[in-house]
């Protein structure tokens, strides 16, 4: 069960910012699940420069997701 957060343009594309209680055992499974629901979002989640934070730490590649994990998809950042 994961809480999923979307930021920036990903949020607008999906039409939601946060969803709780998504059943996925890994980042890869979570992406596949979201892509099945919304192909455009699925493609964007794997798009250039999109980073994934698992429990507020950046992770690369596929990673298992523990219970009550927080997974955030972070498109290219633009501060200042």
């Amino acid at each position: 069960m994961a809480r999923v957060l979307l930021f920036g343009p990903l949020r607008d594309l999906a039409g939601w910012r946060e969803r709780d209680g998504i059943e996925a055992a890994s980042i890869g499974a979570l992406k596949a699940l979201l892509a099945k629901e919304d192909a455009r979002l699925g493609a964007a989640l794997s798009g250039p420069g999109v980073q994934v934070a698992l429990d507020q730490a950046i992770v690369r590649g596929d990673q298992p997701i523990g219970p009550r994990a927080e997974v955030a998809f972070l498109p290219p950042m633009s501060g200042g």
Binding site: D12, S78, G80
Partner: protein, 151 residues
């Protein structure tokens, strides 16, 4: 000190506060970023952060600056939420014994804040809204710090 705030701030007042009571610091450098109107194309800028994560990431950038430059202190204030043209978005101040470290650390911090700090920026205007992506220049700016030998 690192602060994210939805409230407008006065960069001059922050500079006075930051400079106050320092007797061994020979140099204070600052940078203030202002929201641009883009000739009427932008009426509001909206900055989104990831609460907790954004502060931690800026803390890491600040730690990196402290490790690379001989700094006595630094201050970063960054707006989130809705920002009107002409208002300050970001204020960075660095204090060092000598000016070079203060200038360079300020430059370094801004380059990292532009493209490595977790913020997402949307421009609202009469023609609608769009997300602002980092520019090629921002990527080139940050790459400079990989090439240069730290002090």
């Amino acid at each position: 000190m690192i602060t994210l705030t939805e409230e407008p701030f006065d960069p001059g007042a922050l500079l006075s506060e930051f400079s106050k009571g320092r007797s061994e610091v020979g140099a204070v450098a600052t940078f203030t970023g202002l929201a641009r109107a883009e000739a009427g194309g932008t009426t509001i800028l909206e900055l989104e952060a990831y609460p907790g994560f954004t502060e931690a990431a800026i803390g890491q950038i600040a730690d990196e600056a402290r490790a690379r430059f001989e700094l006595d202190d630094l201050m970063i204030r960054h707006r989130i939420g809705k920002i009107a043209p002409g208002e300050a978005i970001v204020f960075v101040a660095t204090a060092a014994r000598h000016r070079r470290a203060a200038f360079e650390a300020c430059d370094f911090l801004m380059d990292y804040l532009k493209s490595r700090a977790p913020f997402w920026k949307k421009a609202h205007g009469p023609d609608g809204e769009h997300w602002i992506e980092p520019r090629a220049e921002d990527h080139r700016d940050i790459a400079r710090w990989d090439e240069e030998t730290p002090q």
